[in-house]
Subunit: 688 residues, 2 copies
């Protein structure tokens, strides 16, 4: 028995328990305000009880969040939380539709109702703030607005007191935020009842008992700490926000007038309906980029990178240096021959020698190694339509980077480089010990994104702050890492990503936005140079080859890599799928899926008639029926199917792929047979 | 990217990495010793390299545990770990078969090979110890033996340095041991890759990539701290043992000669093969109880208990006191009428008034409340063949309990009470602040078990130390709690046990041994007294009624409760299954199952021809084909089927049960349709 906890948790929950009664027992009108989405399915109720401002959320009449409190704790000022009254409220409706420059879907409609509730303290210092709530068909969101006022000017937030009390327990899918250390979101996924969570990263996916699936995240993170969620300490259903800190422990510094990021509660009847995720886009301002934007273009790319991870090349100078002129031009020729738009090169710039992850104050971002003739390389590529994608690893030496960034970006632009991958390996900044996801770092990433836009540079950030929809405002912010990508299959004590990894990733990390996962390893048993210490249980991709192809459809990225060495693609019939697949989409449909088990996604190319379908599974083989009813009726198509071959298995027989063609129509149902750790990739093109 | 961790973990793992090479590259014969199970499927390899004693485990030639080190850290003495050499080894084979007094299975065969390896330090103080390894068809086990010697007499173990380096990553199913606090194993289950575990409870179930399923646990815990496992701090596949401490931080006190508990590694090709678990029984000594053991008898029982959890009764004295003479005799009459062997009564003894969980020094274990005439009650029950099951809650006041226990048990025996449920709510002992699972507490539980045997008392322990097979030696040790049982559905902030709870429990907690889960709630929406504050998302059993029935087959307990109030069984046709089901088994077969999703179990009654089948599912409804091929060929049976009724659903329609009969044979395949959160219970009796 566990009575002791039970009795104590009743006491702990008392303040909320009282508030819970409000909406349920028919509160007086002035006690609560209601806001519904235009389609009526999502509803927010807001009120004040016993001095606490609370909100609640319902979906189709069913409680999702029961009354949960809102407020702040400051350094050097009283908590703004427990002595509030509503002084004003206003309402509005918005309906906007726009075409995206690129994305998982071409058109987005933002149709929502808004309720702005202003509260003031009933005692000194009589501070006030507004919470803006928005109700959409795909969820709800709210943010705090702190107006300029006598009693609240400069402030230091020590804790945002936002609560999310789940109406029922939920199965949470998450990565830990704090154990063993921050780790840039690069932990393996876990699942646990939401009622016993520690501190976890965003986005947080919650399969509520008896549905729906809810994702907690944030949007329009501009000048704040990145969001995390924490449960406990006792078992209960109230989650709270945790904010990574500056070196001195302050979470957020600001001055009124000030707005927080939007706190988003995405709601989907089934997990597959989480995609395409456009809620965070609707909560970011429209694009600020004008003029000729032809330098922003989705593409596939290859790179001098995987060789360093499997020890056939080095980032550092020396006999195995990967970033040489000859090697890069070889990659560019391969790219040109196969329709890839860019070649990433890591290790091209001075600073990689020695213990590079301690070189945060050593890296140059303008000086290439002597064996890398950057101007000649860019020119070589330009002649065949292939761009150089530069690379900047900071190793968290932020000051060193910021001192050089303006001249570096000026140089890249002058050379004609329009793509850049950044890197931030490390848990804290070298100067000031600010947390990797702190407000200090959020400001830095934002600065880099804005500066890159000015210099016509598409940005891919590794070890990023999580995507909160910035790409709507800055369409040069292409994609990010922010989870365990392919590289984990090259090394690491735990044997690489487990086979269910991508089936969880799709419903968690991918809900935030595009990911630079870097799929496409064909040498799945990884030929490594002699002498490298490896054993029978080494890290390597725990997928079949067909699953590697399917990842091009399942994992969305506008800049999508073919990660393996060019020589590993030569003579491989399956490579044709990577040549054919697109990276920009008109339509996205999740046909079927279960978090952590499998998923099947169909996407239609932007500006063309082709569809691509990708299905992946975890360690269990399975057979799925895939109706092609998404195709236009009455038209005939050819499906080019890349399926797991006979006896394919991710562990000991990953390579067999069976390639076949068949005529299909919207009436066809394909039987998709997936091997353990397998996948299937399908190109559907109009019959000639 | 995460290179920094990768490089560091290689360094950390260096000592082991070297050892890894030993078995793989063809070590010299004197470097390692091999031990195989009699059927050859499980193999242990043992050796010394660089002064470290290591062991490794293989299953059908496939690595399970790669070389992992063994040793101890002491207080006030050097670590016994890193300067070892093998001085001796011996081998033996054992083959024993015995009939259990009761159990999941009637007969157990213990057929194993043993290898004893003695090591000594190569430097002062030249201590020595032996590790005994045993290889069985269902797993392997080892224990340390510390012989009497000059340099090792009295000792204080601060850390047992046993490692378990998994050959591949695994999906771990576990409860946290330390977050938010010890919690007597009563946390919700989580799953995570084994490579990122914190500290978790035993038994620990590991679904290894590409199989098999492995359970880490211990056996024959007599005078040691209860085992826990810890991962990290970096992501890797090495688990270590964590031991709860005495109040002064020491983990284990002892004096040579001394043996540790067996460290068990149960290995099953599929999760269902974990049952019936007899590995820990084989590692405990045979029964020490002799003479007339008719006082030990498996049975079903009811109790004055659930009423306190749903607030219709109180433990404490007053108008709602549950433990009254009249109430108990009413329960006894109901028990007699329906074939139950006992009535548990909680709150019968002085000490429950006020804040009872702080009453650890107040409880009397001999003095009943004035409205409970214990002698008359026992006499009333005896006349109709129903025993009183006493109850002793200690609230961790161990000293208070130990002072009274001898006279209490003497009194119970004199009255004719042969059953006792104990309780240990609290995280630490009131005196000395010893951890709930510390060696101090292990000694206490053992003392109670032995004393109960002397007084002919069957014991059911709540808030126990986990089962490590003691029931073989003391068959009066019937069952335990040790996870979240039915009571969590009566209260608690997280809304009760989630619907997948029992589908996980079966493959985790239940692998240790019988559990006093207390199934059988029929009033699934729980009628509570007016005025008790409850809301629409209150705790209540998140199962259908048919699933409640199925739990009698799925969850094994020799003393099995029908937990609901007697009045809630009146007039219920489904109650007939509880009347019919048995609690002692000749044979147990897990027909199908997936951890956390569903399970179907068939059990044959002891001493009779009947079979019982129980199937349960998580929140997903599903249809399973259940072949009855376990029945003897050529015989005709009647299956009495208790199935989820039309539109049954654990959340809003839990009650419909459809009862039907059909004739079946060993050639029949039943189609088992389970509702969301549902179940099915089947009695199969010979056709007349």
């Amino acid at each position: 028995m566990r009575m002791r906890y039970s009795l104590r948790s009743l006491i702990v929950a008392c303040g909320v328990t009282v508030a819970v009664a409000v909406p349920a027992t028919g509160a007086r009108a002035q006690d609560s305000l209601r806001l519904a989405s235009p389609d009526g399915r999502n509803e927010v109720v807001v009120g004040v009880r016993d001095g606490f401002l609370w909100y609640a959320v319902r979906h189709e009449g069913k409680p999702i969040i029961t009354p949960s409190r809102l407020g702040f704790a400051f350094r050097g000022a009283p908590t703004l939380f427990d002595s509030l009254r509503i002084t004003d409220s206003t309402r509005a409706t918005y309906d906007t539709t726009w075409t995206q420059p690129w994305g998982e879907v071409a058109r987005v409609r933002d149709h929502h109702n808004e309720l702005r509730v202003t509260v003031a303290e009933t005692k000194a210092p009589m501070r006030k703030f507004t919470v803006a709530f928005r109700a959409f068909e795909d969820g709800v969101a709210f943010r705090y607005e702190l107006p300029e006022q006598q009693a609240l000017g400069d402030f230091e937030i020590m804790d945002e007191l936002t609560e999310y009390t789940l109406a029922r327990d939920a199965k949470a899918w998450f990565t830990k935020a704090t154990v063993p250390k921050p780790d840039r979101y690069e932990m393996l996924y876990e699942s646990a009842p939401a009622s016993i969570l520690d501190t976890v990263n965003a986005p947080l996916t919650l399969e509520m008992q008896d549905g729906p699936t809810v994702v907690l995240h944030e949007a329009n993170l501009v000048d704040y700490a990145g969001i995390q969620f924490r449960g406990g300490p006792e078992q209960n259903r109230t989650l709270r926000i945790a904010l990574p800190a500056w070196g001195d422990g302050v979470k957020v510094r600001g001055r009124t007038p000030f707005v927080t990021p939007w706190r988003t509660i995405q709601i989907a009847d089934r997990p597959g309906d989480l995609h395409p995720q456009v809620l965070t886009l609707k909560l970011n301002p429209p694009s600020v980029l004008t003029g000729d934007l032809s330098w922003i273009k989705p593409m596939k790319y290859i790179g001098i990178w995987w060789g360093m991870h499997i020890n056939t090349m080095t980032w550092s100078s020396g006999p195995k240096h990967g970033a040489t002129t000859a090697n890069t031009e070889r990659y560019m020729d391969f790219a040109a021959k196969n329709g890839f738009g860019g070649v990433l090169v890591e290790g091209w710039n001075i600073g990689w020698d020695g213990d590079w992850y301690s070189n945060g104050n050593v890296f140059s971002f303008t000086k290439p190694y002597p064996d890398f003739d950057i101007a000649a390389i860019v020119k070589h590529g330009a002649a065949e339509g292939v761009g150089l994608i530069a690379h900047n690893e900071t190793a968290m030496g932020i000051q060193n980077y910021e001192r050089q960034i303006d001249s570096a970006f000026t140089m890249y632009e002058a050379l004609g480089i329009h793509g850049l991958k950044t890197g931030y390996v490390g848990d804290y900044t070298l100067e000031g010990h600010h947390h990797h996801h702190s407000q200090y770092m959020v400001r830095h990433y934002r600065h880099v994104m804005e500066l890159a836009a000015q210099h016509h540079i598409m940005l891919v950030a590794h070890e990023p702050i999580m995507d909160t929809g910035e790409r709507r405002t800055y369409p040069n912010m292409m994609s990010r890492e922010g989870s365990r990508g392919m590289e984990y299959n090259a090394w690491g004590g735990e044997g690489g990503n487990p086979p269910e990894h991508e089936t969880t990733l799709f419903f968690t990390r991918m809900v935030a936005g595009p990911m630079d996962f870097t799929p496409g390893i064909f040498d799945l048993q990884i030929k490594r140079p002699t002498g490298t210490p490896r054993g029978p249980n080494d890290s390597r991709p725990r997928t079949t080859l067909a699953k590697q192809l399917a990842l091009y459809v399942v994992i969305y990225a506008p800049l999508q890599m073919a990660a393996d060495l060019p020589e590993n693609y030569e003579g491989q019939p399956a490579f044709q799928f990577i040549r054919d697949v697109k990276t920009d989409w008109d339509t996205t449909r999740v046909l079927d899926g279960k978090i952590g088990d499998y998923v099947v996604v169909a996407r239609k190319e932007r500006g063309g008639p082709q569809w691509f379908v990708g299905g992946i599974t975890d360690e269990n083989g399975r057979t799925l029926d895939v109706p092609l009813s998404f195709l236009p009726k009455g038209k005939s198509y050819v499906a080019e199917i890349y399926a797991d071959g006979p006896k394919a298995h991710y562990l000991d027989n990953p390579l067999p792929v069976t390639i076949s063609k068949r005529t299909v129509t919207s009436a066809t149902t394909l039987r998709m047979v997936l091997a353990p750790g397998g996948g299937q990739a399908i190109r559907i093109r109009p019959a000639k």
